[in-house]
Amino acid sequence: MATSGTTRGAPGLDVDGMLDDPGIRVIVCCGAGGVGKTTTAAALGLRAAERGRRVVVLTIDPARRLAQSMGLRELDNTPQPVPGADPAGGGSLDAMMLDMKRTFDEVIEAHASPDKAEQILTNPFYQALSSSFAGTQEYMAMEKLGQLRARADADPASWDLIVVDTPPSRSALDFLDAPQRLGSFLDGRLIRLIAAPAKVGGRAYLKVVSVAMNGATGALSKLLGGQILLDLQAFVAALDTVFGGFRERADRTYQLLQAEGTAFLVVAAPAPDALREASYFVERLAQERMPLAGLVLNRVTTAHAAELSAGRALDAAEDLDDDDGHALAAGLLRLHADRMQRREREQTLAARFTGAHPAVRIAQVPARPSDVHDLDGLRDIGVSLSTG
């Protein structure tokens, strides 16, 4: 049995308590790239489902084999039942992968008349916006979360828990900021200025605005070429009916994130960069009054012979070196020492995090010798989450 290294002084995170609490309706997994966010979200979803919750997991960009293990095909964008999740506890598990372009298209289709929608969807500027603009993925992830929540509220038989994975952003904070940024851009002054300068401001401002405007469009068209402005103007004109909606939707999702039924889990690996990012995140969540449940520390090194320290193991290995008959044991002892040293460094990093954030509850998940590609692997991680 692997001894899981407990962080000195850090309170433990009661994962099962969180999963079993019917008041918790949304769990958001966030953190730096490459720390196992998606796997954590999937493992939490499966465990919650098998403990009786009706769960939907929203993943953003899962590794191929993890997606396959959950029965996800390429970007289906609608939740599908996960084959193999045990329904004995009365729960259920659905999962989906985000298709950001389709989600954006659906927002347009839902809010514009069919011919306006057609104009928007074929506009080159819209196509660039919906497929590659920074923040679109974050915005659409939050939009999808809002949609899933609305469906869960409207149909109590659908889901009672949504587990969300967040996009692998430039900065882990992007998913908080991007929706509002993009929302205020789409509803904002610049885009209206470009589209129809006369609509902005009252009469008194008209002159100032139009001077600024001429300067701005002049500069923009010089920079970008006239065509893109025409495309942009056509886009904005067509989008007129949807205006106001973007920002409002972003605000609503933001409020949902602050609400009591939401729990944030910051996911990290025991490495300096990942923990630094986790620290930023914890501070930012506190600032925004977002409810933090705790930190999941993934891929923690454990030892099976933890009672033997690294120093003692190395000394013993050295003692054995003189006799070839002991080469195997010497090798095993060095392997163990290496592992103990890594474990020690990781626990030092974790302790430093706890020193800075003493109230943050931590669940540690031991490193596995190979990646997870099936539900059994996810179940094992679920067990680690609830006992770490």
Partner: protein, 351 residues
């Protein structure tokens, strides 16, 4: 693995003629570390390199243990054998203002753009423009000339992670398509020409785990489809083998000799004062033996995963460089060491 053990090696350089080294990799694989080591390696022996980061994370400053970098090129290290490494953290807003001023003489219009929010738009929301600016800065640094020739012998770009690298490097093509005429169009086309030329390569950093290797393969495919030249594969955090080969084989088969290990542990005094003759000593040795064997079994599983991943990487048919895991985190000494290892394996000439 290209390896040249001749210590006097001065000639081997897999990337002769390359001026722009783009370094990408999955998050957590150490791409900033590799970019920094490569910049040091390329500078060694009297050259001058620029190490640029574009994600605003101040990863370079953290690595070299200096205060956050301003938007200004400054000398950050001296390479072995003389040679300078300059560093720059490219900040989109400053880069945009610089562009407006320098290329389009739009100083005043730039202020107007700032007032109506266009600058914020360009630098935070529209990566079309944002990434054009970031790649544009690298382009400018590569092309910049002093009195005697190029200011930098090489520019190393600590680029966005593999998941976004194709979009990042290809953005100029998209922008050239959106803005069909005008200076941005021209600029975007020139940048694309440099990125697709023999003077640019994209190196991929990975570790021997499934997901990073899968992402590396996907990125290679994407880069090739976009006509971008794939450089080397840098395998980071490679661990030295600790167990002798026969022991590994036995551990893989699950038949390591329990009794021999227990005897050895006893011989090393690990049973405690009473030796295995005492009940507690015997129990302790049994426990330790079981623990060590379980650790060995996990170790072999891990090595098997690594072997499969190495095999996957070899199908990419790119020069591959391996650098070790650095215990206790990367400091300046470790960076120099990694730079030397990259040079020894032919990633730079290491003059």
């Amino acid at each position: 693995m290209p390896h040249d053990d001749d210590p006097g090696d001065t000639g081997r350089n897999d990337w002769d003629g390359v001026r722009l080294h783009v370094v990408t990799g999955k998050g957590g694989t150490g791409k900033t570390t590799v970019a920094a080591a490569l910049a040091l390696a390329l500078a060694s022996g009297g050259a001058r390199t620029l190490l640029a980061e574009v994600e605003g994370r101040q990863g370079i400053a953290a690595l070299f243990d200096v205060p956050p970098l301003p938007y200004e090129e400054r000398k950050i290290a001296v390479a072995p054998g003389g040679g300078d490494v300059f560093a720059l953290s490219v900040e989109p807003k400053a880069a945009l203002m610089e562009y407006l001023d320098l290329f389009y003489r739009l100083g005043r219009a730039g202020k107007v753009l700032e007032r109506v929010g266009a600058i914020d738009f360009a630098t935070t929301i529209a990566p079309g423009l944002r990434d054009v600016l970031l790649t544009g800065k690298a382009y400018e640094a590569v092309r910049r000339r002093g009195r005697t020739g190029p200011v930098y012998d090489a520019v190393v770009l600590d680029a966005p992670p593999t998941g976004r690298i194709g979009r990042f490097l290809n953005v100029n093509e998209q922008v050239a398509g959106l803005a069909k005429v005008g200076p941005i169009h021209t600029q975007a086309e020139s940048i694309m020409t440099l990125l697709r030329s023999r003077a640019t390569v994209v190196h991929l950093v990975t570790v021997l785990e499934e997901m990073p290797v899968q992402e590396t393969q996907d990125a290679v495919e994407e880069l090739r489809a976009a006509n971008l030249r794939v450089g080397g594969i840098v395998v980071n955090m490679v661990r030295d083998p600790v167990l002798p080969d026969p022991a590994l084989d036995a551990a893989a088969r699950g038949d390591l000799d329990h009794r021999a290990v227990a005897e050895s542990l006893d011989a090393a005094g690990l049973a405690g004062r009473g030796g295995r003759a005492s009940a507690t000593g015997a129990a302790r040795v049994t426990r330790l033996t079981a623990g060590l064997l379980a650790e060995a079994a996990e170790h072999t599983t891990r090595l098997e995963v690594e072997a499969v991943q190495r095999e996957q990487l070899s199908t990419l048919e790119r020069p591959t460089y391996e650098i070790p895991a650095v215990a206790g985190g990367i400091d300046l000494g470790a960076l120099y060491d990694l730079a030397e290892q990259l040079a020894d394996q032919g990633m730079s000439s290491g003059r």
